[in-house]
């Protein structure tokens, strides 16, 4: 094994820096760190609840329509505002769509937007934070002042501004939410990288002549993945909430696109009519999904942080 390969192994977290000095450092010694992490997660009750709810929601949204067939493209004015009953377990809405079927379709948009926006946010945030910290000096100062400036603007205001500028669609909303959600990730990653870049294996990689890009991608970024994974789950929850807020304010994707926030907004128009089935189901879906992603994020952090491990 070459020196560079040894560095890569250490950077991958399979050995602590001190183990490099020992000739027996790479002999098999019980479960891998992935195995330990998995075991820890399976014992994390709230985390399991969160993961289960998310799985149920994904199945509900993406598999549900295959089992529960409803027409979500044609309105039906003869069946508007029907209460829950035979044929419509959760009733119908103001233009005759079946609410249960609508929840499933809306869930697809909400989850897609949440996951995609979170992916964009963590990608931008991770690269931004890592480059900023690794470069240091004036580059770091400028990049972090940009983050400070954007963080100073309330997220909802920023989202409203951007949503008003671009024509709302699922794709543009994903981009908008991704663009405004990477700031916290960038700060977190920068903090981690500032510590990592002083570690021996990073210094060794520099001495070995590795290019900065390789060091960042090969040795730095993969060591902050734990932090990023935790943050990503929170970003998913935040993106779903922001989408709900945007739709609530009438700036979400227009029909025929539908999401839980939009359903909630429409339902609230009829609050005094007593059409509870147009309000509660969408609200419950939002709350459950957001709480589930937060539980998942909390659990992920717990199992990745050795100081918080139960054993």
């Amino acid at each position: 094994m070459s020196f560079r390969e040894l560095l890569d192994v250490e950077a991958a977290g399979q050995a602590t820096p001190g183990q490099l000095a020992s000739p027996t450092a790479f002999e098999p010694r019980g479960p891998t760190s992935w195995g330990i992490t998995t075991r820890e997660f399976l014992h994390h009750h709230l985390g399991m609840i969160g993961a289960t709810v998310i799985l149920v929601m994904i199945l509900f949204s993406f598999v549900g329509p295959l089992l529960y067939h409803t027409n979500q493209s044609a309105t039906n004015l003869l069946q508007i505002n029907l209460p829950p009953g035979r044929g419509h377990p959760l009733g119908t809405d103001q233009v005759g769509y079946d609410v249960l079927g609508r929840l499933m379709v809306a869930g697809q948009s909400s989850l897609e937007v949440g996951l995609a926006a979170a992916a964009i946010a963590v990608c931008i945030g991770t690269v931004w934070g890592a480059v900023s910290a690794f470069a240091g000096g004036w580059v770091d100062s400028i990049m972090m002042r940009v983050v400070d400036a954007l963080i100073a603007i309330p997220t909802v205001l920023l989202v409203l501004l951007l949503a008003a500028i671009v024509t709302p669609s699922v794709l543009t909303i994903i981009c908008v939410l991704g663009f405004v959600s990477w700031l916290i990730t960038a700060r977190l990653v920068r903090g981690e990288v500032l510590v990592l870049r002083t570690l021996d294996y990073v210094s060794a990689a520099k001495l070995a002549g590795d290019r900065p890009v390789r060091i960042v991608l090969r040795h730095i970024v993969r060591n902050v993945i734990g932090t990023v994974a935790v943050q990503a789950t929170f970003e998913v929850a935040n993106a779903i909430l922001l989408l709900a807020a945007l739709s609530f304010l009438g700036l979400g994707p227009p029909p025929p696109a539908v999401n839980w926030g939009g359903m909630l907004t429409t339902g609230l128009n009829y609050i005094f009519d007593g059409y509870w089935w147009q309000i509660y189901p969408a609200g419950v879906c939002i709350v459950l999904t957001v709480v589930a992603f937060n539980l998942l994020g909390d659990a992920t952090r717990d199992v990745l942080d050795v100081r918080l491990r139960s054993s």
């Binding site: 493209s73 309105t75 304010l249 009438g250 029909p255 005094f272 939002i286 709480v291 909390d298």
Partner: protein, 621 residues
């Protein structure tokens, strides 16, 4: 514990979004000052202004931006009466009301070119009489500031004024160099005349002495500039002495009569000399930021005369039990889905030029069903330029019926018989290009898709529902409708972006179809329902640049022919326009579904010209 806090934080975040949004929606202006009967014998009546539309202009010479009901029907006419009053306190007809007018019927002479108007006796609140000189003063200002007056029609009667004078204190003579149809001129020209107090307002600054500045063009402009500036200074309305000189039954309560949020407090003009002297002691108009906020105030008893959002019609029972009478208020206007013949989508121009495509699109609008289910029964159909409600002699019998009743099969047949391959649920494709019979039409190439974009305003659940149902109906026959939602002002800006311009200069954001409100257009304060502004070439409310020589010729005839011939032409014209579809017709939603407290008496009808008559109201203690 930390986990619990995290869970609670998540729940709190969800609740915060809800609460924040609700707060935005529910925030109302200060509407807490209702105090029935607490001022004096007559009591205080509170009236809800339309949500988000507080008064913005007090001077009764207003431009287009300040010509909403909040100014020109709810505020100004209560203080400064027009010479000829349109509308009635006891019925909804949008017709001339000579009883409430300040002048006798106009007398036409010299072949119709000279119009003589005899003023009845009215006094200003200063005690001096209203004279013809006050009309001359108003017209001097208007003719020198035509572009700043919403009642100006390019090429209209104002451009044909030969002279005007006040030969005596109670006689006003207007001479034109063109003969107009008398009814047309009364409804669209004389309806605008409004005496304003020359003896108090003919000045160019606060410190200047009253003069006769209006007699010169420069002087008239200077007077207008001064009065306009005072009117734009909202915070000083109730402290400006100018606005206390009125001839109507009401005036602003000095010092506390107006708040910039839009709250208006009017008190009786003790020198009012006309009919219907106020019986209540105070009339308050309350501003609201949303219909929900207004509805909350209504339910809490803060408002005597308000309205119910269409979405809350299911809850009318509780309101009725609280002693409210529910009455729809219909305006003298039309609701249209504006077709932008000059849109950024030049491919669409060739599609929409085809009458059969417009007919197919109109055949997919189920007006009766929209009215019944979406508007809860509180709507009236629109079949052409003349409003169907209220009933008038202006409406041709042919326009009482829908020329293109709802029929998916007819719409489909229209398309297939013109060479389109139907893709139900998808997008139709032109299979037979060409301009011959059975072909798609001029400029439509093979493979062209039948796809159009529609922009509509956010925040109007009824319109949102109508648009969704429309998209679904279009989709069933393969017309692909791409929807975009935006604030009403944005819709208006984008819809008018190509106004009077060629398509190639249009911004990319221009939609093919635009819907901005219901009703979209009202015949107030120009009451004659000919629709020149909407359907005439270059009309000010013709964003789609529709232009037809046949329509223009008929409009000219309507303006100039004798009464009988003009009416016949109006019938012929409206039938033609109804069938030509320069716009698609949508049902008129009620301007508002009024909720009137049982304590408030004397509201037998709601005026379709949107005038209100608080001086005829009484409050039961």
């Amino acid at each position: 514990m930390r986990r619990l806090r995290k869970v609670l934080a998540s729940v709190t975040a969800v609740c915060t979004v809800g609460a924040l949004s609700t707060a935005i929606g529910v925030t109302a202006a200060d509407a807490s000052s209702s105090h029935h009967g607490s001022k004096s014998d007559g009591g205080v009546v509170t009236f809800a202004e339309q949500p988000g539309f507080p008064p913005t202009y007090i001077f009764p010479l207003y431009d287009g931006a300040n010509s909403g009901n909040n100014d020109i029907t709810y505020l100004q006419p209560l203080m400064w009466l027009p010479l000829y009053w349109f509308g009635h306190p006891t019925n909804s007809a949008a017709t001339i009301n000579y009883k409430l007018s300040m002048a006798d019927p106009p007398v036409f002479s010299d072949g119709g070119k000279t119009i003589t108007m005899k003023l009845k006796h009215y006094d200003w609140s200063t005690g001096t009489p209203v004279t013809a000189r006050d009309l001359v003063f108003w017209l001097n200002l208007v003719l020198n500031e035509k572009t700043n007056f919403a009642g100006t029609v390019p090429g209209g009667w104002m451009t044909h004024v030969a002279s005007y004078s006040a030969p005596s204190a109670d006689t006003f003579v207007l001479k034109l160099n063109k003969v107009y149809n008398q009814t047309y001129l009364l409804y669209n020209g004389l309806s605008l005349l409004t005496p304003i107090p020359q003896q108090a307002w003919d000045k160019t600054s606060a410190s200047a002495a009253i003069g006769t500045y209006d007699k010169t063009s420069a002087g008239a402009k200077a007077v207008y500039t001064y009065l306009n500036a005072r009117s734009e200074s909202l915070s000083t309305w109730d402290t400006t002495a100018l606005w206390q000189v009125v001839d109507g039954p009401w005036h602003l309560q000095p010092k506390t009569g107006f708040q910039v949020t839009g709250q208006v407090i009017l008190i009786p003009n003790k020198k009012y000399s006309g009919p219907n002297k106020p019986k209540i002691s105070e009339f308050e108009e309350l501003p609201f930021t949303s219909a929900t906020a207004e509805y909350d105030a209504l339910r809490s008893g803060t408002v005597d005369y308000g309205y119910v959002p269409t979405t809350d019609l299911g809850a009318l029972g509780s309101l009725k039990a609280s002693g409210f009478t529910i009455e729809p208020w219909y305006e003298w206007g039309d609701t249209i889905l504006s077709i932008l013949f000059s849109s950024s989508n030049t491919k669409y121009d060739s599609l929409i030029d085809q009458l059969y495509i417009r007919q197919a699109m109109d055949s997919l609008i189920d007006q009766p069903e929209y009215i019944k289910t979406i508007l809860g029964g509180y709507g009236t159909p629109t079949y052409g330029p003349v409003p169907v409600t209220p009933k008038t002699n202006f409406l041709a019998s042919a326009e009482k019926k829908n020329p293109y009743p709802y029929s998916k099969s007819k719409a489909k047949k229209l398309l297939t018989s013109h060479g389109w391959t139907i893709h139900s649920g998808g997008t139709d494709v032109c299979s037979k290009p060409g301009a011959g019979a059975g072909e798609c039409g001029k400029g439509i190439a093979a493979g062209t898709k039948l796809a159009v974009s529609l922009m509509y305003p956010s925040g109007f659940p009824d319109l949102d529902n109508e648009v969704q149902v429309l998209r679904s109906a279009y989709s069933a026959v393969g017309i692909h409708l791409t929807l975009s939602e935006a604030p009403e002002n944005t819709v208006l800006t984008d819809a008018f972006a190509c106004f009077d311009k060629p398509a190639k200069t249009c911004p990319a954001s221009t939609p093919d179809l635009a819907l901005w409100s219901s009703p979209s257009f009202t015949y107030v304060p120009i009451y004659y329902p000919d629709g020149t502004s909407m359907f005439g070439c270059g009309g000010t409310v013709n964003p789609g640049n529709y232009c037809s020589k046949a329509v223009n010729a008929e409009l000219t005839a309507i303006e100039t022919e004798g009464n009988s011939a003009s009416m016949k032409t109006l019938y012929k014209y409206q039938e033609y326009v109804a069938r030509q579809l320069p716009d698609l017709w949508l049902p008129n939603a009620a301007y508002q579904i009024s909720a009137i407290s049982s304590k408030l008496k004397g509201v037998p009808a709601q005026d379709s010209t949107a005038h209100i008559y608080p001086s005829t109201w009484t409050l039961k203690s």
